[in-house]
Symmetry: C2
Subunit: 274 residues, 2 copies
């Protein structure tokens, strides 16, 4: 019988803002009880897996830190796997900075860069940075033009917030693309590095021969699923709507009204004995 592994997006799937979505806790409990390998994958790099675990816990959803993959963590794991150690200059939030410190390769901060340290930077890693300054762009530009590798945590040009859409990591990456003339490696969904990292993490929870991607956004989650041969399970509790699906070339394999329907759908697909 088919062995299933599941990657779930968080925002718009398990919760919206600080509100858990209907059936989210039950769905997560179901996956744990059934022993189905699953991980939670977000393109957000500003928070750590630990702070996501706490956020979920406040909503009554209990998930170990190991199941949570942020784009900051994915960036770290991808760099460990593919690149040689070298100093890192971070344009990003606290979560990304923590991951990059965790690499142990050494960080050049703005003060260090100002003293000439930008010449020693081998990786410029760019995520959403609520404390972005011109100086950070300047030293990032100098370092990349000096040969440092240019890495973006995720491609999202905006993210939804209180007053409307705020500039995302992709907007800051766009500034550096313009000032350096270089194309970055982008880690997050819908790109290959996120897939590689999430599937490897999924494997640590058990075997599977089919992966489902559960998400709310056509341009990231569903496109990501289709690109890497995962089953694309779309929920309607987030950014994209059924009309968006009709107007798009990106088609989910199945649409659920919300995460609450997932257990039943899994039962039906796996059969009672699964």
């Amino acid at each position: 019988m088919m062995k299933l592994g599941i990657i779930l997006d968080m925002d718009g799937v398990l919760y919206r803002g600080e509100e858990p979505l209907k059936g989210a806790r039950e769905a997560v409990d179901f996956l744990k009880e059934r022993g189905i390998p699953f991980v939670l994958l977000t393109n957000n790099s500003t928070k750590t897996p630990g702070s996501y675990r706490e956020k979920l816990l406040r909503m009554g959803i209990e998930v170990s830190e190991e199941r949570i993959v942020t784009s900051g963590l994915a960036t770290r794991l991808y760099m460990e796997e593919h690149f040689k150690p070298g100093k890192v200059f971070v344009i990003g939030g606290e979560g990304l900075l923590e991951e990059m410190k965790g690499l142990g390769w050494g960080i050049v901060d703005v003060e260090g860069a100002k003293e000439g340290g930008w010449r020693d930077v081998e990786y410029v890693v760019v995520g959403l940075d609520p404390d972005l300054t011109y100086e950070k762009l300047k030293y990032g530009t100098l370092a990349v033009r000096n040969g440092a590798r240019f890495i973006g945590t995720n491609p999202d040009t905006t993210y939804p917030a209180e007053e409307g859409l705020y500039p995302g990591a992709g907007a800051i990456v766009a500034a550096l693309k313009a000032s350096t003339g270089e194309e970055p490696i982008i880690i997050g969904k819908p790109n290959e590095p996120a897939y590689e990292v999430a599937v490897e993490r999924l494997r640590s929870f058990g075997d599977f021969d089919e992966v489902w991607m559960v998400g709310d956004r056509l341009d990231t989650d569903i496109a990501f699923a289709k690109r890497f041969g995962m089953k694309a399970v779309m929920v309607l509790t987030g950014v994209s709507s059924l009309e968006d699906v009709e107007g798009s070339g990106t088609r989910p394999d199945v649409v659920l009204t919300g995460i609450g329907e997932l257990p039943e759908y899994i039962e039906a697909e796996l059969g009672e004995g699964g």
Copy 2:
């Protein structure tokens, strides 16, 4: 006989950094003595015409403020000519802020934007901003997404500075293009608004039936000249070299080693009685 008007770029033509280039003063004096209409046109928006006048004066070059057109001033003049009054949100340096205040249409600053003032913004004007912050990008994004017109002072993605190439206005504009999905109007060389404003200013100094553009950069000055039917006079004291000319589709009409050769070239073209 042909009546000549001349638009000159400044950096790389009259000076480099704080050093005047050979023959710059003499060339400017020649133009004044011969009564040839001329203006100085720079894509820099961070300084005011007044501060450029002082900078030139420190090098012994005397030019009235009226002859100096920054991209900040050009933005102001273009807005006065083409747009209706409305509140302005500025992402840019002191020079641009001064020009936008000079419009008298009202400024929404970051503090005002934070209190909800971004909803009243009708123009988001973006230049090189040495004090760029994430908050400025955020309110610029919210305002443009709310219907404000998106204007960039100049397209330069970098500018040469002490340690190398720094991010220019075009890099900050790129971030906002990404976060808003909107195409801005770009004022500076090689675009139409800069041409319109510079030629109108030139006309205030006398009649002409041919315009020469004297500059050092192929991608801005020379492209600008070719695009609007000006004679493209390139000097080799700035960014672009003769090799760049050979490798480029943009060809100047004449190449001078430096501004010092301009008077003689004008004499030859106009004839002794000119």
